[in-house]
Amino acid sequence: MVDALWYLSRGTGVVSLVLLTVVVALGVGTRAGRPVFGLPRFAVGLLHRNAALMAVTLLAVHVVSILFDPYAQLRLVDVVVPFTAAYRPLWLGLGTLACELVVALIVTSVVRHRLGRRTWRAVHWLAYAAWPVASLHALGTGTDRGATWLQTVAGICAAAVAAAVAWRVGERPRARRAASGSGRRGKHPLWSRSVSVSVRPSTDPAVTAPAGRNRLLGAGATDLANHLRRHGPLPRFESRGRVIAEVADAGLTGRGGAGFPTDRKMAEVAAGRNAVVVANGAEGEPASAKDRTLLAYAPHLVLDGLQLAADAVAARHAHIYLRPSAVAGIHAALAERRAGRWDRLPVVVHAAPDRFVSGEESAVVAAVSGRQAVPADRLRRVSEVGVHGAPTLVQNVETLAHLGLIARYGAAWFRRQGTTDEPGTFLATIGGAVVAPGVYEVPYGIPLGEAIALAGGPTAPLRAVLVGGFHGGWVPPAPDLPVSRAGLARYDAAPGAGVMIALDATTCGLAEAARIVGYLAAESAGQCGPCLNGLPRLAEMLAALARPRCDSRLPAEIDRLAALVTGRGACRHPDGTGRLARSTVRAFADDVTAHLNGRCVARCAR
């Protein structure tokens, strides 16, 4: 009987080491993402899991049997606290340690869906410590120490793990996730050169509702005194709901690009408690200059809107998130307001990294929460769970500036510009082949020709206009085309954040689009596989299409890839990039045909 315990302990010890080796080898091997021994990957996963459960069962028998073995004379404390036993403390201690590591691995794996991915994975790395410790324990203690057969078993185990690691290292060549979203940085396309700002200062200093189109920029009040002289103080509202109702009547929509109704977002956030409001002026789009222009010319309108929005949703905290170049200006404006005790809530200023995706809503929330400014997976809306878990209202700075005016002059005044369905004005960054590129305030529905004329007219006959920025779509340079969601819908385009880029007839649209998509591919945060792998492929194919005598299968392949990446990311960066790629193939169908035949339309037009 006494010997039986001793044999049992030795046997289960060795077998559990072998099983642990199998578990580690399968765990390492499965990470390569290739089938192992022709088994389906889920079967490898199951084998890994079941072998681990079997190993821990044998381990329990191993420990209990040695505990009751009269020869080793171990106390309970010896098998719980490592290196305390009187009998071979070091080698036994290693066993205790390995056992505890294995138990930690198993327990965290069983409850991993409760623990969350990060914690579970962090603990799971302990496997790389548990296995060598267990091996050392096996080699260094027990009756079989030094026995050839044991050394052979240990050698085979080590070889198995080494083979698994080699298999893992030689994995398929596929773009891996960027370590921290940094690293590669997109090179701005030609069009992103700095845009000059043309603003006509208002000549009327009295407090009256702005009559013309220049509502936001026309005031030109950079300091608080002038701002108050021009617009007067913010009116008080009898109830919070009143502000949201006024916004709903005005039909204000988000000016950051998505165009979501502002009142609905505000109502969602107002329904929660301890809300947070963030003014978003990150303006990651290099072709856009409207947010920085607005912040330079009318910072107090934005800050008025921020306070109004904060009041409307009963926010506890207010933040403003903007490009580093705008930080000093906003600090100065905030200091003026503090001196006059103007604001209910103090405003925390955050600098946004100069990256395309840093202005995306979940990236804004991450940045303001003190994390890296990259988009995150969302199971619940930011309006429910945002900054530090609080319901969060993220609004573009232009939207907030409009709010500052609506509060003073009312919904009916706001609707005097724009269309019935899309009321109000928006800040348009008009660039490309125009005489005076810059930021202009225009009403929704403005004919495209009129907008181009505002920017001094085209420098040459135009081929197309990219509307909505780098995530937008190409439209023909039709002078009568209304710049509104409704007007642009048939081109799968929208005003978005107000970017319009004119392309002259001597520039090849395919080449320009290839450059933009190349930039967008490099601007991927590198978190999501389809975006990380698909966007560079899309850019390569557009670049190939931009060369004469290209492969005739390219347009169809571009369409397929664009559809493939759409909807498969934490944010809409792949969707927007795919939209531009598809729009390019459609809008420049003539150029595609010419390129397939070894010619180029743009070059002929020169």
Partner: protein, 74 residues
């Protein structure tokens, strides 16, 4: 009547492909081994008869990138 939808956390998904093996009716592999919903939806609806398989896929995803949303999710 609402159905369960399959949600992929793309920031977590590493294209290991277990879900594609366990739910071939709903998911296919893309050019790089990441799952693509066959119906093209962002979050494909899981028919009632596939729910056990979907739960298994969620349970076995090594990156914990899969989730069931809506009815019968838990």
């Amino acid at each position: 009547m609402t159905h369960s939808r399959l949600h992929v956390d793309w920031t977590a998904c590493d294209g290991r492909g277990l879900c594609i093996e366990l739910l071939p009716e709903l998911l296919a592999a893309d050019d790089w081994g990441y799952p693509v919903p066959r119906d093209g939806a962002r979050e494909p609806v899981v028919p009632a008869d596939l729910m056990p398989h979907a739960r298994r896929a969620v349970d076995q995803c090594p990156m914990m990138a899969l989730r069931l949303l809506g009815r019968g999710a838990t």
